[in-house]
């Protein structure tokens, strides 16, 4: 349902992504791991064109966007179509601080999808219930704990009914016990069949919850495979070295 082909990206002279390809099946949970600066976050951000790849192609749910150096108005329109299928969650939450939790979740359905207020409110309430925030839905973001913020951010992304969710280090800013609140929501989504791609440093989660793990280094996929196999018997020396420093 998601194909990324030969995604390349440079920042100035620095080649961050050297042609990465990925094919994702519906319902998969994929973890992207690797050392800092390996390009895993950039790759994730290229999938919904928050970052414009210099080259490569992304196809999600049949919407294809080819990228090159020059970004045109029609590319922007196509990116808009593509993003309709993609939800994204950030390390720093990025909730809208001037709106309460419910408004944060309702804003995009109301404004982008022009959904009726009552309907948007029902959907938002249901999602907040699901992520365990029903009791704090009228609070402003600064009155939430980190775990609550990230769950609210997940609910906000889900409100747009995406077919794939992208997580950019969703728990890196959280204490372990707060991380667990977030991870359990992600596991629940996995059970419902949501397709999810997670950039993470949490090896325990990557190993326990992923269907597939990708190890990136210097802008390339070094190794990918079943987590139980990869964490125990990595094929590549580089993967082994990386895992040894962490475990």
């Amino acid at each position: 349902m998601l194909q990324a082909t030969d995604i390349a990206k440079s920042f100035g002279d620095h080649e961050v992504l050297r042609g990465i390809s990925l094919d994702v099946e519906r319902g998969e949970l994929i973890s992207l791991i690797g050392p800092s600066g390996c390009g895993k976050s950039t790759f994730l951000r290229c999938l919904n064109f928050l970052e414009h790849p210099d080259a490569g192609r992304v196809c999600i749910e049949g919407v294809t966007l080819e990228s090159n150096k020059h970004w045109h108005r029609k590319d922007e329109a196509q990116a808009h179509r593509l993003r309709a299928h993609v939800g994204m969650v950030f390390q720093s939450f990025n909730l809208f601080p001037h709106r309460n939790v419910l408004d944060n979740v309702m804003m995009a359905p109301l404004q982008v999808k022009k959904m009726e207020y009552e309907k948007a409110r029902a959907i938002a309430s249901e999602l907040l219930e699901k992520v365990g925030l029903a009791t704090v839905k009228n609070r402003y973001p600064d009155r939430l704990s980190g775990g609550q913020k990230q769950r609210a951010a997940i609910a906000r992304a889900l409100a747009m009914k995406p077919s794939v969710m992208l997580y950019d280090e969703p728990t890196s800013a959280l204490d372990p016990e707060l991380s667990e609140e977030v991870l359990s929501v992600m596991r629940a989504l996995d059970e419902e069949g949501m397709t999810q791609i997670v950039v993470t440093h949490d090896m325990r989660f990557a190993r326990a919850a992923s269907d597939r793990v990708l190890y990136l280094e210097e802008g390339q996929i070094v190794e990918s495979g079943d987590p139980d196999v990869m964490f125990v018997h990595p094929r590549e020396a580089r993967t082994r070295r990386f895992l040894r420093t962490l475990l």
Partner: protein, 522 residues
């Protein structure tokens, strides 16, 4: 009269520039139904003429007995001339500095304000024949009557008005202690306070401004002639007014007007050949003196009556200040936001153009901008009413400051906010409207409040383009009654009253927007 050399202060030099620009703007020559055209006329009967009616006793001034009514010997004279031309004279208030630029701009047909007929002035305007001839006089405090000739003034400090024939005279005679003033009220105050020993000034001013503890001494000195000023390209109108002037000289109308104001002089008798002695009383003079004695007194009843009479005038000025400021604010916010968004998100050329606009506007004085928009733009065929020009000048000026403020506000919103909005599939415009601007607004409000209070105060600058707002009202009232303290307190309070609601409003907005804006990022 006072400051009758047109280009004294820096401001006046600015006006010279504006005048030159204005002169380039060729007034369209009319195919005349009448033998002359009347610039600025609103209908067939209209005859607009301008003067600086602020503290301009006895020329054209606001009647202290009936506030809101204009009077003065020149006012009466214009009434007589208008009648002979079968028109309705209409007084147009304009600051001294703006009188001749306004004439060049075609705002009105003529200017009468004790303007001396000199070769320098005749280069800028056409003059009528003289309507008044007078001299300079020496004025001293009682007890200093020996200072009664120019020769006696040596080794004394002598006050006069800047760039006048009187100052010229003092320089010619090598008087060492010359002190030149912009405003005659300051000059008389310093005479009373002993900062100057004597004053040399036009006789009508000396007569009307002197108090009982002052004495006119010695003989009249020199000869001063006043003329009505017309646009250079309108000799036909000048000729028509000259004919009317001749008529009222010969039938004694001018004599009766001047006598009423106690201004008929031997020089006038020589000039007109009219040696009749009128039996009539100087009624206007008497009325003015008694009114001033009653109103400029410091008794409680005099003060009470005076301040009560000021209230509607100050209210009127306050309404003008508020209207100009409020509309300018709306303009400044709208344009400032466009400039800020353009500079933050626009293409390179757009960023450059908007940046240049901001730097130019912030780098030049507001006064120049006001004058340029009002007097300069007509050169390019853009003629704005004083009110619109004032709002535009203030609004466009403050837009530059607001733009910088808003840009700082936009920069204060974390990048992640825009990314989150885009990831939710909002367009850039939706992201700005719903996410970025509301957050930027909150950091911007305190600065904006300051800017708006500054704007209310800066709105006083629009008085140079004939708008009578609070500051102009203050200048007029305080210099008419020599009362800078009481009037100042009243006008100052009016400014505060206007400013306070904005401060309150800003506080409320800040509270509402500020509620619960927190981290959301780190």
């Amino acid at each position: 009269m006072q400051k009758y050399t047109l280009w004294g202060s820096v401001k006046k030099r600015v006006c010279l520039f504006v005048l030159l620009v204005g002169c380039l703007c060729v007034l369209v020559p009319n195919a005349m139904a009448e033998s002359y055209s009347v610039p600025g006329a609103q209908n067939e009967q209209d005859l607009p003429w301008a003067s600086d009616g602020e503290a301009n006793v006895p020329y054209v001034f606001h009647d202290p007995a009936h506030e809101g009514r204009i009077t003065g010997f020149e006012y009466d004279l214009m009434g007589a001339i208008s009648a002979l031309l079968h028109r309705h004279g209409r007084f147009v208030q304009n600051g001294w500095d703006g009188l001749i630029p306004g004439l060049s701009r075609g705002l009105y047909a003529m200017v009468i304000d004790g303007i001396e007929i000199t070769p320098e002035h005749a280069e800028a305007v056409l003059f009528s024949r003289p309507y008044y001839v007078t001299s300079n006089r020496i004025l001293v405090m009682k007890g200093h009557e020996t200072l009664n000739t120019l020769a006696a003034l040596h080794h004394h400090s002598v006050g006069t008005i800047k760039n006048t024939a009187a100052e010229h005279l003092l320089l010619q005679h090598g008087i060492e202690g010359i002190r030149s003033y912009e405003e005659e009220t300051d000059l008389f105050t310093d005479l009373r306070n002993g900062r100057v020993d004597a004053v040399l000034i036009d006789e009508p001013i000396a007569q009307y401004y002197r108090s009982d503890d002052m004495e006119l001494v010695g003989d009249p000195i020199g000869r001063i002639t006043y003329g009505i000023a017309f646009p250079k390209d309108n000799p036909a109108l000048r000729d028509a007014v000259n004919t009317a002037l001749e008529n009222i000289i010969h039938d004694g109308t001018l004599h009766r007007i001047l006598a009423r104001w106690n201004l008929w002089t031997p020089q006038m008798a020589v000039y007109t050949g009219d040696y009749v002695t009128l039996k009539s009383k100087p009624t206007a003079w008497d009325e003015y003196r008694s009114t001033m004695a009653r109103m400029s007194g410091s008794g409680a009843s005099a003060l009470w009556h005076r301040y009560l009479a000021f209230v509607p005038l100050i209210a009127e000025g306050a309404v003008m200040t508020l209207a100009v400021s409020a509309l300018a604010m709306v303009l400044a916010v709208a344009i400032g936001l466009i400039l800020a968004l353009g500079r933050h998100y626009g293409s390179a050329p757009l960023r450059w153009i908007f940046g240049a606009y901001v730097e130019i506007v912030r780098g030049t004085p507001l006064l120049i901008q006001v004058l340029f928009i009002f007097y300069g733009l007509p050169v390019f065929g853009i003629r704005l009413s004083p009110f619109i020009a004032g709002v535009m000048a203030l609004g466009l000026n403050y837009a530059a400051y607001e733009a910088e403020n808003y840009r700082a506000g936009l920069l204060s919103v974390p990048r992640g906010q825009m990314e989150a909005a885009i990831a939710l599939n909002m367009t850039h415009f939706q992201a700005l409207r719903l996410v970025i601007v509301p957050q930027a607004f909150r950091t911007v409000v305190p600065v904006m409040t300051n800017d708006f209070i500054a704007l209310i105060k800066d709105s006083s600058l629009v008085s140079v383009i004939t708008l009578t707002e609070l500051s102009q009202t203050y200048i007029r009232l305080s210099s008419t009654y020599y009362d800078y303290v009481g009037t100042g307190l009243m006008v100052g309070s009016a400014y505060l009253l206007i400013g306070l609601p904005f401060v309150r409003l800003a506080r409320m907005a800040e509270k509402r927007l500020g509620r619960a804006i927190g981290q959301g990022h780190h």
